[in-house]
Symmetry: C2
Subunit: 501 residues, 2 copies
């Protein structure tokens, strides 16, 4: 007995903490006394060969026995436990890489070794929230220089799985910074694949938004593909639209993005490393970046866009990754629908060439597809737009999209919400401004993204003349309760639409 190991029976608490490892023990647990553990101590929990560092909270009720340790789902999963397993708990060792974080706070620069150690510890879950926040702040107070951004990008890409495709050109696209309803991906992928490009696309689910591309795509086909399934689909159809979460591409990014969001700190260096590390890990060689610029978008001025474009291209180049940045209008939502199924319907309308399809979604998708085709030399410079337009208009993209869905497990109909309620304009006039943040909140209150059919359908665009009493948006919900909450919020927040008389 070395005085450091203390066997306890593991109890699954079904405690949801996102990716945070939390353990609960009673204050009279022997290990708490012997190891001098108090609330918020960082502890090392070991189960056989697996271990996780967790934050300890103590509890003084009958939920746990003194010989038990309760684990959050994140901790339970990482340890791969089964009911009743025995684990050992002790004081967590000091996290060496925090010395590098402190060094950067005090003005030092970090090299590849330092970033490697930090990212390894972050992926291993050794950083508490305060450590993550300190790292984010340390990389923001004195901005990362290009060399540091490159090291960070490389170590983040190396920290997870790496996909590789034995073909010289692997196309990809990415939208920097959310814009509600901006679901160009399925359309772009379908066009690119129709033209023979290889485009193994991974997308993410919504974290704070009403819908991610993965959420919308899931209403059309299975997206939860492992690497083997993904390869099969890409070999058969040249492309896929899968959920990246099943893959572990740049896992550090998922951890850091959560903290950056909570702190509302989003520096250029972290943005570049976040985007490029995922693309590098996915094995992409040619990436088109959709960069919405606008007053409420992530990038707000042309100057900021110029700088970001220059730096992102430079870092990408050092990994042999070719990028092209497309600036797009970031002023208003792109599609008509906001919410998984509603956004999927917009996508279908465009692919099927319906006259009422949202034209700005169609135009954006074509512009991005044109750039993708030109980068991959499927079309000469300046001719990508024509090829993209022809591929979409001819219906070939729609056929290809259905084949991709079939290969991913079968195409399906997006669900329709049982409850809808129009919201009318308070007075007549020109719609001059839409508060995207409040509009997203409205869609979330209605149930999106968990309720696939829920969300908001936007009937008017900026510059449209709306008539008093005529509907501006339609709220879609699956339950009366959620419809009520959405409507109550809307009633108090109709200023999300500015209508000038």
């Amino acid at each position: 007995m070395n005085g450091n190991a203390h066997p306890l029976r593991a109890r699954r608490l079904r405690l949801l903490t996102q990716d945070e490892a939390i353990v609960l023990m009673r204050t009279d647990a022997h290990v708490c006394k012997s190891e001098g553990l108090g609330p918020r101590a960082r502890v090392l929990v070991r189960a056989g060969a697996r271990e996780v560092i967790a934050t300890l909270y103590q509890i003084e009720n009958a939920w746990l026995l003194a010989g038990e340790v309760g684990l959050s789902e994140a901790a339970w999963r990482r340890l791969g436990l089964n009911a009743g397993d025995v684990v050992e708990v002790q004081n967590a060792p000091t996290v060496e890489s925090l010395a590098d974080v402190r060094r950067r706070i005090y003005g030092g620069r970090l090299d590849a070794r330092a970033f490697g150690a930090i990212i390894t510890d972050i992926v291993a879950g050794r950083y508490a929230d305060i450590h993550l926040a300190t790292f984010v702040a340390a990389c923001s107070a004195s901005p990362l220089d290009l060399e540091e951004i490159t090291h960070l990008t490389g170590t983040m890409a190396d920290a997870g799985d790496r996909l590789s495709w034995d073909t010289p050109v692997v196309s990809d696209k990415h939208c920097v910074g959310g814009l509600p309803g901006n679901r160009t991906t399925p359309i772009v992928v379908a066009i690119a694949a129709s033209c023979g490009l290889i485009m193994p696309k991974t997308s993410s689910r919504a974290i704070t938004s009403p819908s991610g591309t993965a959420d919308a795509m899931e209403t059309l086909a299975p997206i939860d593909l492992d690497v083997t399934a993904m390869r099969r689909v890409v070999e058969a159809e040249g492309a896929c639209i899968a959920w990246g979460g099943a893959m572990r591409l740049s896992p550090a990014d998922d951890v850091l993005i959560r903290v950056e969001r909570a702190l509302e700190i989003d520096t250029e260096g972290q943005l570049i490393a976040s985007v490029l590390s995922k693309k590098i890990a996915a094995g992409a060689t040619h990436v088109v970046l959709d960069l919405p610029v606008g007053p409420t978008a992530k990038v707000r001025t042309d100057l900021a866009a110029d700088k970001l474009t220059a730096h992102i291209s430079a870092v990408a180049a050092s990994f042999g990754l070719k990028t092209r940045v497309l600036r797009t209008d970031g002023a208003q939502p792109v599609g008509r629908g906001i919410g998984p199924a509603l956004e999927a319907r917009d996508v279908l309308a465009v692919l099927q060439g319906e006259p009422q399809a949202p034209q700005e979604l169609r135009a954006r998708a074509l512009a991005i597809a044109a750039a993708v085709l030109e980068m991959a030399a499927a079309a000469p410079e300046g001719r990508g737009a024509a090829l993209a337009e022809e591929t979409l208009a001819s219906g070939r993209a729609w056929v290809k999209f259905q084949r991709i869905c079939a290969a991913q497990g079968g195409m399906r109909e997006p669900p329709v919400a049982p409850l809808t309620r129009p919201l009318a304009a308070a007075h007549s006039g020109i719609l001059t401004h839409i508060n995207n943040r409040k509009l997203s909140r409205l869609a979330k209150l209605a149930g999106a993204p968990d309720d696939k059919a829920a969300g908001v359908e936007l009937l008017a665009r900026l510059g449209d003349y709306v008539t008093a009493g005529a509907p501006v948006v339609i709220v879609h919900a699956e339950t009366p309760g959620e419809l009520d909450y959405a409507l109550a919020f809307a009633a108090a927040n109709m200023d999300m639409f500015e209508i000038e008389v």
Copy 2:
């Protein structure tokens, strides 16, 4: 119904989280759906007029009903709840002062208004750990200038209770940075009060160390005095040695210190604001700062000590607070005992003039007392040492100490540990180095500070010749289990004593 308030029955979880407000709800709780709340969301919990901002975790077991919200002790206390009370939960409003924190991260300077807003939010519990860590990092990346340190100190002092004493000279002392067993305070206070000084001393309990001054003093007399009791004691005896935690002096400091410790970030600006805000809030006018300098102490070089001394004096002066900094040897533990009762016995030995009393503790206490007496003009410059020595040697300090203890509620005998075990030197030679960190850990494993009698008794000092097999330290414990753990740790860590042959 405004779509924002959701009544739930409050459940007391007896969940210990230090000062962190945490609430648990089931994922199927209506409010989680309607407010779009997920794990780690920041929520506002309101009970009548009281409110607290908490971090939400979700749980999917039978511990809670869908209509209930479970609260950590910190949240329960702040809301002043009773079993079964109804509370309302909703999304937390954005914390405006975080914009100031971000501004500083990006290189901006903060004024009194900004620090005031930040400290107010911190004391109100509106900052999550990641926010606190970001603030600490923001104040470290580009160091606080003197003006900022002054603003921070002032706002921290204003954020809690303020004591005032209607006398022109109120003496105080403080030791910067822990040194095990450095219990000069009770001796200094007794000497100062014997010489007619007013010294309403508040001390803290151990947070990470084996014993704080308050823990040691508590084995000799009650220390849990409220402001009224404290005034009564000071009016009667001119001084007291009370636990500061019973008052709310600079409460922001307690929150920030925890995060700084966890991050091992301890910048000069934060140190100065921490120390001075407490002294200003306590109503002190003349403060002697004991500044241990040494390789393992908080301040490691004379250069650093010079800078700290200059800045601390400048900031103190702007609040009309006079300071004198005494540099002391930070190389080794000060007393013989480490642990509440053992340290109290050292104090008694010095006060009672026992020949075997630890001489370096006596010498340090006299040096600090001399400075306190000179600052208060109780002795001319250069004559404080003689007066302190005479006051201690004559036994007057010992009499005064007993009177103070009696006034605080009655003097008592420090407890004696039922179990002791000597640890022998592995070989003979000169004791050249002691690892204070490991020695403190040993005392904590033995049970200190919770077990008042537990700890470590140090028999040899640096430079002493120790003989193989002869005891170097004696471990004191109250339970066999803790003795075992301490001995197991010691067996694996005898390198905490470096003995040169």
